[in-house]
């Protein structure tokens, strides 16, 4: 004969068992419906994508693979090489001077009266930071988790492998 405590334990396990059974059937029923209605028809394709991605990462991580060349001193598919600083020369559409392509942006910045040297009042860092974190363009991205005003900005600085400075550039 089991005592009252043992009965209670047995009873609670019994109830727990019933609850678990019920939940399992809930899930089974839902999955059954999804499968029968064809709502999961892409499962195989998804798994294939994941597998290919894992294989790709393994292949790329393998040091024996030549992988992609990161430096710019390579021949492109047209059989050409290019200097690290673009050497094409054209006329600035603002002032008419002849500018080397690779130095065009810093020239234009000055030329148009924008940028660090041109700006008088506020410091660059505060304006830039303000602009970055309070972007509110009319067609802005829908950001479901934007709980702060910070946006996601990734900057490009000096291209990898380059040596020239990040400052403004004096015209030649």
């Amino acid at each position: 004969m089991s005592g009252p405590n043992e009965d209670n334990t047995q009873l609670s396990s019994h109830f727990l068992g019933d609850l678990l059974d019920s939940i399992i059937v809930d899930v089974a029923s839902e999955c059954h419906r999804i499968a029968k209605l064809g709502l999961d028809h892409n499962l195989e394709e998804e798994e294939k994508e994941l597998r290919l991605s894992a294989q790709a990462r393994a292949r790329v991580a393998d040091p024996s693979n030549s992988g992609e060349t990161n430096n710019k001193y390579v021949v492109d598919i047209f059989g050409r090489t290019h200097p690290s600083v673009a050497s094409e020369i054209f006329e600035c559409m603002n002032c008419g001077k002849s500018i080397v392509a690779g130095r065009f942006a810093p020239h234009l910045e000055n030329c148009m009266g924008k940028g660090r040297k041109a700006r008088r009042k506020v410091t660059r860092s505060s304006t830039a930071a303000q602009n970055r974190y309070s972007r509110g363009s009319p067609v802005s991205t829908y950001s479901p988790y934007s709980n702060s005003t910070s946006t996601n900005r990734l900057s490009n600085g000096t291209p990898v492998g380059e040596e020239y400075s990040n400052g403004t550039y004096e015209e030649p």
């Binding site: 290919l52 059989g79 910045e109 829908y142």
Partner: protein, 586 residues
């Protein structure tokens, strides 16, 4: 195995169900409607003759079995507990015509002879209607009866249904051939490539010179130059820069030309697709863009995604406004940028007290994705801590080998999951007239032609006043099916995946292919937050190319799959033609 009616998959019924329906029609299922009890808000449906009924198996008096079935013909309740016994099956075998029963706790039809759950459209409709009436949901845009609810009503204002037309291929006849020949210049591939035959290289593949820290711009431009609908738009002369400048009274000469980013795009398309393979300098474009986005005009760190948004905005603003057309971005009628990239998002907020749901629609030009909050270093599931009472963060895929990897699909799943707005975020319920805790759920009402996914790799900590780049790998597929994230799918799953035409279901033609997307461009960022480099990978004729400023090289697709994506561009696999709205269209 199943058939599609109105885009709804309807599985083939078992012979007993067929038999039952032919004898009784759908009357018994509709009669069950009175017995459908729904636990608000938005809860599951159960079958009870009286609200307080406790169903018991008529054979063994058990009420605690996980499955109890009520015979649809005679309402006898029996249990089904294989492999021990099934009083439900016994009932079916003993009385012919009593094979069909209904699960009293789950409102699912069961064939006791086949011993399997079966599905019936009319029954599902009855359940959905019962759930709807209980929720007494009305749209936020119009006052409506209890029957018209967020299930079937509430079309976003911007979405006009236009009849789909069949594609008819066109080829010029002999007269048109002559006209084309006389008014155009043949394209020659100017490359003397010795290594690769020039005819093998796709048109429009051309390097872009870095003008000084402008790889953020080059990377996005490369993606746009090869965005199929955008490329087709400009190459078919839909925005003629000469005509546009002339029409708007521009004086000849670059300095005085009227600012129009679309004109500059047109010039760039012409140059890039001309056959000339020497790297192109997008100087004029930079100049125009800096005039448009004055606050971004500086030779300093720039963000590619920010440039992308700014550029679309620029094209939108400068394109001539047609008074007849809707100017709202959602419809896509305002400009080519929105026609291609603009989609519509649907937001449902359901009051947890009364079930009233408020629905709003907003346009979006891309999708910004967050990583899951940082989990522990181990690859195991981090579901131990739940981040809110309603959901559990799991960063695990179904297949074991991918535990711990973030994926694009998991980001979308999180984006569309039901999120509980807790006590600190109470929403004003129009029905209760007080602020209540609610459940919010996002879904995609209308997919854009081209979906751009932006990965938020920038973390800014306001506490520590510093920012860092998130280098975590995000898996992205080459083929992406967006169907599970559509409003119709989300709504359907909210109602238990019943067979029912939910809001958003495309009533005309097959909807299968219009939610399938193909990857065609990936913008990646390498390096640090303040000193990094953007590169774009393009997929042309199923071959991947790396566009690194002026350098175009061929790469294996593994490189792309393993790359750290920052912006991924997908295009709809199947583009449908809608009937033209123009009067004179033939």
């Amino acid at each position: 195995m199943s058939s599609k009616i109105n885009g709804q998959v309807s599985p083939q019924p078992c012979p007993h169900l067929v038999d039952f329906r032919s004898r009784n029609g759908s009357k018994p299922f509709r009669a069950l409607q009175d017995c459908i009890r729904v636990k608000p808000p938005g809860g599951r449906a159960a079958i009870r003759r009286e609200p307080s009924e406790v169903p018991r198996c008529s054979t063994c008096e058990e009420s605690s079995r996980p499955r109890l079935y009520a015979c649809v013909a005679c309402a006898a309740v029996s249990c089904h507990a294989p492999p021990l016994h099934s009083h439900a099956s016994a009932h079916a075998l003993s009385i012919p015509g009593h094979e069909i029963a209904v699960d009293v706790d789950r409102a699912e039809i069961f064939c006791c002879a086949c011993r399997d759950q079966v599905y019936d459209r009319d029954f599902d409709a009855a359940v959905v209607l019962a759930q709807t009436i209980t929720a007494t949901a009305t749209t936020s845009t119009s006052g409506s009866t209890a029957m018209q609810c967020n299930v079937t009503g509430s079309q976003p204002e911007n979405l006009r249904k236009r009849r789909r037309v069949d594609y008819r291929p066109w080829a010029p006849d002999s007269r048109e051939h002559v006209i084309i020949g006389n008014h155009s210049i043949p394209l020659h591939d100017a490359t003397n490539a010795s290594l690769i035959s020039s005819t093998e290289l796709p048109w429009g593949l051309r390097g872009l010179n870095n003008l000084g820290n402008t790889c953020f711009m080059n990377s996005v431009l490369q993606a746009l130059l090869h965005t199929p609908p955008l490329r087709d738009y400009f190459l078919s002369d839909r925005h003629n820069r000469y005509y546009c400048q002339q029409k708007n009274g521009a004086i000849n000469g670059t300095k005085n030309s009227r600012l129009c980013l679309a004109c500059d795009m047109d010039a760039m398309f012409s140059a890039v697709f001309s056959g000339d393979r020497t790297p192109y300098s997008p100087a004029k474009f930079l100049y125009s863009w800096w005039q448009h986005a004055a606050n971004l005009a500086s030779y300093e760190q720039q963000d590619a995604h920010e440039f992308f948004i700014s550029m679309l905005d620029g094209i939108h603003e400068k394109v001539e406004k047609d008074k007849r057309k809707s100017q709202s971005p959602g419809s896509g009628d305002c400009c080519i940028a929105h026609r291609i990239f603009s989609g519509i998002l649907r937001s449902d907020v359901m009051c947890l007290a009364c079930g009233f749901t408020s629905t709003t629609y907003d346009p979006c030009v891309d999708f910004s994705l967050d990583f899951e909050p940082n989990q522990g270093g181990s690859g195991k599931s981090s579901s131990a801590k739940s981040h809110n009472s309603c959901s559990v963060e799991v960063d695990c895929m179904g297949s074991n080998q991918n535990c711990g990897i973030s994926t694009l699909k998991s980001c979308l799943e999180r984006f569309t999951r039901a999120e509980r707005l807790g006590s600190d975020q109470k929403f004003f319920c129009q029905k209760c007239q007080v602020r209540q805790e609610s459940l919010k759920q996002m879904s995609i009402r209308k997919l854009p032609l081209v979906s751009c996914f932006h990965v938020k790799r920038f973390e800014h900590s306001s506490i520590r006043k510093m920012s860092r780049k998130v280098d975590r790998y995000l898996q992205f597929p080459f083929s992406l099916d967006m169907a599970p994230y559509l409003s119709s799918s989300i709504l359907r799953s909210r109602f238990g995946n019943r067979i029912f035409p939910f809001d958003g279901d495309d009533q005309d033609a097959s909807n299968e292919l219009s939610s399938e997307f193909e990857l065609f461009a990936v913008v990646t960022h390498t390096g640090r937050l303040d000193a990094g480099h953007y590169v774009t990978y393009l997929r042309l004729s199923n071959q991947w190319y790396k566009c690194d400023d002026a350098w175009i090289t061929r790469v294996n697709e593994s490189i792309v799959r393993a790359a750290q994506g920052y912006m991924m561009f997908y295009v709809q696999k199947m583009l449908y033609y809608k009937a033209s709205e123009k009067q004179d269209a033939s």
